[in-house]
Symmetry: C2
Subunit: 512 residues, 2 copies
Amino acid sequence: MNGAQALVHTLANCGVDVCFANPGTSEMHFVAALDIVGTIRPVLALFEGVATGAADGYARMAGKPAATLLHLGAGLGNGLANLHNARRAGVPMLNIVGDHATGHLQYDAPLTSDIVGIARPVSPWVYRSLTSAQLAHDGARAVAAAHAEGGQVATLIVPADTAWGDADGPALPINPPQPQAIAPDAQDRVVEALAGGHRTALLMRGRALHREGLEAAARIAAATGARLLCDTFAPRLDRGAGIPAVERIPYFAEMMTRFLADIDTLILVGARVPVPFFAYPDKPGWCLAPGCRVLHLAYPEQDSAAAVLALADRLPGGKSPLAPAPRPERPTGAFNVHSIGQAMGALLKDAAIICDDAATASGAILAGTANAAPHTHLALTGGAIGSGLPMAVGAAIACPDRKVVCISGDGSAMYTPQALWTIAREKLDVTVIIFANRSYRILQIELERVGAAPAGPMAHTMLDLSDPTIDFVGLALSMGVESARATTIDAFCDLFAGAMRRPGPYLIEVAI
Amino acid sequence: MNGAQALVHTLANCGVDVCFANPGTSEMHFVAALDIVGTIRPVLALFEGVATGAADGYARMAGKPAATLLHLGAGLGNGLANLHNARRAGVPMLNIVGDHATGHLQYDAPLTSDIVGIARPVSPWVYRSLTSAQLAHDGARAVAAAHAEGGQVATLIVPADTAWGDADGPALPINPPQPQAIAPDAQDRVVEALAGGHRTALLMRGRALHREGLEAAARIAAATGARLLCDTFAPRLDRGAGIPAVERIPYFAEMMTRFLADIDTLILVGARVPVPFFAYPDKPGWCLAPGCRVLHLAYPEQDSAAAVLALADRLPGGKSPLAPAPRPERPTGAFNVHSIGQAMGALLKDAAIICDDAATASGAILAGTANAAPHTHLALTGGAIGSGLPMAVGAAIACPDRKVVCISGDGSAMYTPQALWTIAREKLDVTVIIFANRSYRILQIELERVGAAPAGPMAHTMLDLSDPTIDFVGLALSMGVESARATTIDAFCDLFAGAMRRPGPYLIEVAI
């Protein structure tokens, strides 16, 4: 048995069952070992950002790491933006990055680079394996590391000679560290604050935003009057009819400040203090009300669902005030992001997963789908656009029985359009909606907000995607994804309803 | 005047006249300043790897840096693979990377990352500007740094508040350090070696591979019998009818060993000792003949053209044996990489620039074009595929009077297909040829060579691009590039000849 075979066996034994891959020469032994083990599904990506974004989407839904397989520093570099998003999502992920054989590094061959250095900014755990005999054990350590800290990116660098050299056999799986229990005195302080008549809010993240956690949170809210909040970009949120709703913190700093103005006690449950994405001249960067007290019920690496469940059990039996609102009607008339949101609210398939990279269209879709059939929403956690299509790949592979809906801006989609090919190749049950406003709309807004406007024609061309317009229907078809364009709300409803009924890849370009 | 305006003025004064940009919120003041200065041409890329690859292609042809404009660590990350190629090409390049305002970093907002850490593996010079008053001077230092060491990647990180804060005005340009002169004793040793009846070869890189340098090298060869070599992947090589030819070192280790076997004195002229791309079990990683002596006439950061010119002047007047070979005939019959190479050799436009990301098709094209009309060849210096289309953008902007021909594998093209949109938007005179063999053909070869074969079906799917096939004609059309498919050599000749006659973007998909 060679090192690569021992490694792949070990990863399989540790629960890894998918590998999102874009391999090169130095990863050929790993690739060959996949057949020998047979239980890890290899999924080819044409670009590494698709592989890393897919592993993020997979982890958010499966709650465990997929492997990526990347070719040296350049391949890892191509995956960096979506690794940044994964780092911010706090998901477990395992990168396997091939490297030159140990003895070859001295020659500084053209593809040689500082792989550890490239990995470090996005991967808290990085290790370069040293011998084929040790590689399998390093793999077990890497999987355990991916599960640590509530989920993190772990990167194992595999020199080619550790892959082709001899190994004894697979290594034993390593039990990942269990999350630290919620401190009783932290809970006491929160109970006291909630009872004290304060204007309190719970800001939740992690498993607290899964259905069971939300139901517990709703009991807390009913018993105490606390507001329930989630971040602008929560990694995963269950929502829709019958699921207790949370308020989403707004994106822009001054809206965030107003939103948080009446809260004098903010209770963090797996979340951190909310901060705006960007600073602006003469606008506040700290948005909590003056004197707002911050309590930690659960830190990000703790189990936030367990925290809200335990807290709810300590409070008098508040009953969730939930009266499911009716789904929106199928819209007629105007064709814009609001009516499209309403259409999605009316027609969304039960248990769908929405992968959201829709930027300025996102708010209207979230509003329209608030009372849609129950579904799960995955947001752009790190702000590096180009995550939506790749996440859809991973979510669809993690949950083959659920419909995945990717909503993406036209600008966002063009960072990782190669994901469409993988969606077609794997026949994934993904409906893609491209909001083609022919611009980086968010930047047209931000240009004003940062005080750089008025700007001239050169600046405006940098925010404009209309010359030439991108034909997303043609783009999707060129990669094997069936596709159509909607220019009326009626046509959109028909296309979207058809896509919800029919499994498999489909793309709808919405010209708005 | 704000910091961004002072910076843009300074860059323009330092000779920067193009900016390949994919900006975000933190770069809006830089974007707005472009109109105020007016002499830097902004070129929008939909993906940062296009911007960095374009700056590489621009620098190879213009001999001076373009600026890129990138959005924080994630945007820089997306550009990393082509920055790796640029680092290996030794070209001057300037990255302007926006960052959060200094005071905002304390909040660790979602897009915050270790930008210096991400830049360092690809950028020998990295600096994070600290005040708006100093930003313009930092820009001048960055341009000088890009010119240093014979050309290198320099990265200036621009916090948003240094862009929007007050500045006095532009900074003075800084004279870049001049390359160190060739040491007389280095030249003496080389003259002695060349006269000594040794089996000598000159391995050249840099400006020595421009026409003037090659003509001097041919005089040296005529006078001494020395062989003239270039690297497998030279950043830039003038070649074709009437230009002295050099022998290209082969790609695979054992072929490289055979190729170098009869050389007992290797004279490096701006090059480093040649090494194979990858190591293989039981194959040599060091390919020089045993006992081969290595002399340095010019180090990579020196002027290799000056070195060969001075050397040629010291030798007895050898006359270049150049008798221009006739161009190949327009081929008929078989349709394969060899006949396509011949067709390109027959029909290539005078002074064309070939951007080569064609992997396994490259050798046949180089053979076919050896006696084509004089042209310039730009190779994949760092081995990170996905450089061809972006380089074509930059080369076309650097040389608007020359036809650019991008030859790319199908696998390679899918790393940075967004470059097609920029080619269409800027109406660049670029003809793209996609060699669609529906596979990562090089990996099918390498799988055998590294000893990982025989491999099973999972492994083979990782090397296969046939399911679904990518319709490159449709892909190009979707981004506004006129396009056609050739399935016979006659059709290819007609399409290619038409593309050579007609300026503007065009793509030919070659199904081989």
